[in-house]
Subunit: 244 residues, 2 copies
């Protein structure tokens, strides 16, 4: 015990230039930033993901992030690649290519949808992180093993990427709505009540289909769309086979 305990309790005189707050020199890093951002993304969605928010999560200021990440775009790219790393990739097996590709794309959809609306950054961009490349490689390997022609394989990656991203956004928006306190069921109920109230002479089909329009959740709809695409690819594969 030193005799200075009383002095220690005194506040600093206000004309002292205040010391920096004991800066423990937290070593910031790309990984830490990505991890913090991913947490916010999952918990509060992409709208809550600002540079300042990530920084405060790490106990620092926004400017500090720019030593490790060039822009927000780059951070989002890193996040996307991180998320795509959650997908596990099968060894291609030509005999079961339809099951394999369905499983892989379903897993991709799930990985995107469970991480807020990160899928928004996938649209309009060719993702080129290491994990993204691995997913693309695995996808193309499976399709090729299944006998899908090369050009179709190449375009299918693109097309299905768009489809998976778009439906993942839809699913994620559902979650967003719930987080905002809204009840998606009630929202859709209102939508369909509006459909049902449309003038029957000008919207006969819409009115007639209201019951089936209400059917199924996001996963059902994704599975349906995926089935359409896989059927289409199988058709292409069969044609290629017949041509040889």
């Amino acid at each position: 015990m030193s005799p200075m305990t009383a002095a220690d309790a005194l506040p600093d005189p206000p004309w002292w230039t205040p010391r920096k707050t004991a800066a423990p020199r937290r070593s910031l890093s790309r990984e830490a930033i990505v991890a913090a951002a991913l947490g916010i993304l999952r918990a509060e969605g992409i709208d809550a993901l600002s540079m300042r928010r990530v920084a405060t999560e790490l106990g620092t200021g926004a400017a500090s992030l720019y030593a490790h990440v060039a822009h927000k775009e780059e951070l989002l790219d890193l996040l996307l690649d991180e998320v795509l790393g959650e997908i596990d990739l099968p060894e291609p097996d030509g005999a079961h290519w339809r099951e394999q590709i369905t499983a892989l794309w379903t897993a991709s959809h799930a990985a995107l949808a469970r991480n807020g609306d990160i899928a928004r950054v996938l649209l309009g961009r060719v993702p080129m992180g290491p994990n993204s490349l691995c997913v693309a490689e695995a996808t193309m390997a499976i399709l090729r093993a299944g006998g899908v022609p090369d050009q179709a394989v190449a375009w299918a990656v693109d097309v299905v990427g768009s489809f998976v991203a778009a439906t993942a956004i839809e699913t994620a928006e559902h979650v967003n709505l719930q987080r905002a306190g809204g009840d998606p069921g009630e929202y859709y109920a209102r939508v369909f009540r509006y459909f049902a109230a449309l003038p029957a002479d000008r919207f006969p089909v819409t009115a007639a289909l209201v019951p089936v329009l209400t059917q199924g959740d996001g996963d059902d709809r994704f599975a349906f769309g995926l089935d359409l695409i896989v059927r289409g690819l199988a058709g292409r594969a069969a044609e290629a086979q017949a041509a040889t």
Copy 2:
């Protein structure tokens, strides 16, 4: 002539609250706002579309817009519906449903793609403007006339909406890049050079497919994906036919 011309030439005493500048009371309207916003959207993309920008285009301030439009979201909804109104809708003809649906969706893609990246607002939202409803009605009528089962029809609208929006964004991003002064060709060349430089032992398929990956533009890729989906739907229709 009044005898006060000399007094009129005097500057107002500085403690007088200055009169507003002869406000000509331009009559603002929802239509005018949508038209101005659409112009900006087409010319400079959705990132340039701020409330202030629209307002200055109309010779006023941002606050004035809020008398006619609740939020920016609502303005974007109006824009989307306006764009969807550009699509012309055929009378359903069961004998040619595949051609009809292909034409309709191609036209939808084109309408979205030619209006900046307005397609971004379509994702994760069920569009319910009058024009949107008409497009949905026409889509479902064609598919139904083609013998596609009701549940498939209902989900197809959703699924294809996502697909069309996603590919339209991709096409629009291309245009954005060009506007920003970049050369998309050069961009893709760099991407594919990177693909070609990947370690061949870990990315054999990617490396092998580089030539076909470079093939085709946005429209080719959209047509390919659309064909997959339409094939899938035809399969469903055939199954339904066989079951009866």
